[in-house]
Subunit: 427 residues, 2 copies
């Protein structure tokens, strides 16, 4: 019986476990801090009140309920004792024959962690609902505010970082203010809200071609988003963003600018890159520990054809599956293979009807790109019995701007949690 | 221009405002601590992972977006200066010609408020998701626990109070453990979970006939719920419930036993009943303030035919509408009328296929009662453009035990809220 331990149930862990499900002679344990797999590419929709958390999250247990060789635990990893083949968690120790790590990355404020409380990032459901609360509360405060200066501050939304998350967030806020809220307020005109997307580099979506990046800028502007490029944020305080000598007041500031490696990488006795990601071998294993694999955002993987692979869902999905297949090969006495990346391209969506998409030489923009975006996301959204139904439900809620998700849910609970496993975060 | 101020957007405030919408010469302001109207009768479904918050909550703004004479504010009432026709809130003062109060009630621990943290009640979405978190965490802890004593403690769920909320909560937990979780765990058998419903009186659902109450007991038992009647809880500590000399360990304890009047009732210069509810005139106004009305759970209303009216949704809906109509009559120079209650009966549901229903001489039980329950709840669930669609969606998620709502969402956010209007509660 080979024990395979999987840390993290993101795209890496999920796909690896699916590949190992019901295989003979194999015992799989999946550990995650949360009890659900999160479909991260749509998290910005929760943050902007388009979808509910349950629409994009599926309990890990229910995904694997029919796979008797898979156990799952909701717990947090405290330490990896790689020389002892042991992982220490809050609920006890786990031993492994093979270890698969897919713990992702976390936000990075370029050594200004004090900015986080004024400008939260978007990685977890808790952060998404907090961002949703902040956005909606800003409009509520503006409606009740009499002082014009404070009112305009509340109606200013700044998104820092012009990658896909920043583009998607600011586009969705633009849409909220220009279309969704149009008849809802009496004392303010939500269409006058300022939404500013700040990017330090010369253009947004630097991973895309210049032409698509220009198109995305125009699509954002059509939704009322002001795109500021070559502007580097130098300070974030309560309700204030400073850019060198410039100073803007904003009731809501969101962070989509930097990512940082997982702290547990320090326990792996392996070489890390400048960002702290684990440099892996061509088969995604560690140099000195061939039975330990790192994949997805957590790994630094380079090949000749593509260079350093980007930190996105397709890479994580392919690598998760590949690692599991390699382990199966080895157990069955076959040779391991090297990982080959198949570039499926990249996409970013701007509001409800526009997107940009790049796939090899194919470049789509506008509505056709958006349809492709919708199709891919529905296709990869797992855990629903009936994808056609989900498509129907989404089409409905998308086209009618479903109101139900616009809830300001208070983050405070008067009493401490009974279990406190979630207090610190590792990714 | 007559100014009508409505405090609370529950069933009372919602129905009153709908009645006053688009009426000439009338300005309506609706104030609520939340930005949504909550369909309270289904809140237990959120607490037991059957539905998501957004399924049963609708933003107040979007309900009234087409009614230009209605303004809504999310804020908290600090004080009612009834002699000055003034209400003081966290965002400023509001003056009124007519005041409608529908602030409801809050939980009551019979002067043992220290029990609350060990046994939360179910009135708000925050409480519902916290209860959901506790229930799901208990199963997760049990799965990871090696000590058999602690494991059984985690698998014990106590619901205190055998009214409809207690019956619905315990039935839903029974269903989770007996049907939903059946294949999800490896180290525990969720079917062995103990679910205990404790009622101080001689039978559960005391408001129903004895026959239906007996049937509900049997239906609960079929879902694995142990019904303990004539057992009065004397102490609640962490993981422990004491009933006189008896002592039960439970990982999850929920409170559905008592309600208490809203604190603001003290500001109304009016007679209160023993429970602190406002005793109202036959037209639901206050004795000394004919332009101030109290309705729904917040009011104590008696008539000869029905005695004291129960604290439930049909009463609140009827009274809210009635108060608005009376105000319109008076403004139009007509006489006020006295409130006449139309008894639509009562119902409680037990799991997904059983219910009890009483309506005059009609008494339904089992599946037919459940279908009636479903129909009534869909019919009154407002805010969705397409009820047929909701019905379809529910039928789907009900019958497939939709997994998505089973999320353990952490209640903690590292940073304080920017606006702190929700910190104390008035209802």
């Amino acid at each position: 019986m080979k024990k395979i331990l999987i840390l993290g149930c993101g795209f890496v862990g999920l796909n690896a476990a699916k590949e190992l499900a019901d295989k003979k002679g194999i015992e799989v344990t999946v550990i995650d801090r949360k009890n659900y797999h999160l479909f991260q590419p749509l998290l910005y929709q929760v943050a902007t009140a388009g979808l509910s958390p349950a629409d994009i999250a599926t309990p890990v247990r229910s995904i694997f309920s029919n796979n008797r060789n898979i156990k799952t635990y909701k717990t947090e990893v405290k330490k990896i004792e790689i020389k002892e083949n042991k992982v220490i968690t809050t609920i006890g120790e786990f031993y492994f024959d093979y270890l698969i790590l897919g713990l992702g990355v976390k936000h990075y404020y370029f050594n200004n962690e004090q900015w986080e409380k004024h400008a939260p990032g978007l990685k977890t459901i808790e952060q998404a609902t907090e961002i949703r609360r902040r956005i909606l509360e800003s409009f509520e405060r503006a409606e009740a505010e009499k002082d014009i200066d404070r009112k305009m501050k509340d109606l200013t939304f700044i998104v820092v970082g012009g990658g896909s998350t920043g583009v998607e967030l600011s586009g969705a806020i633009g849409e909220l203010s220009r279309f969704v809220f149009v008849k809802d307020f009496r004392n303010i005109d939500p269409k006058l809200a300022r939404i500013i997307l700040i990017e330090a580099g010369p253009r947004i979506l630097p991973a895309f071609s210049e032409r698509l990046s220009a198109r995305a800028t125009r699509d954002l502007e059509a939704l009322g988003v002001q795109v500021w490029t070559s502007r580097k944020v130098t300070n974030v305080k309560e309700d204030v963003v400073e850019i060198g000598q410039e100073r803007i007041q904003a009731g809501t500031v969101l962070w989509a600018a930097g990512i940082k490696a997982c702290d547990l990488n320090q326990h792996l006795d392996s070489e890390l890159d400048a960002m702290g990601r684990v440099i892996v071998q061509p088969d995604l294993s560690l140099k000195n520990y061939a039975h330990v694999f790192v994949a997805g955002d957590q790994a630094h993987f380079k090949d000749e054809k593509h260079g350093l692979l980007p930190a996105n869902a397709p890479v994580a999905l392919q690598q998760g599956k590949f690692v599991a297949q390699n382990i199966l090969r080895e157990i069955n006495g076959q040779e391991r293979k090297d990982f080959k990346y198949f570039n499926k391209g990249q996409m970013a969506t701007i509001g409800r009807r526009k997107a940009v998409l790049e796939m090899g030489k194919l470049r789509l923009k506008g509505f056709s790109a958006w349809l492709a975006w919708l199709f891919v996301h529905i296709f990869y959204l797992i855990g629903f019995k009936n994808k056609a139904f989900v498509l129907f439900y989404w089409a409905y809620s998308y086209l009618t701007f479903r109101k139900g998700a616009r809830l300001i849910v208070n983050k405070e609970w008067r009493f401490y949690n009974k279990t406190e496993t979630d207090k610190t975060s590792t990714n």
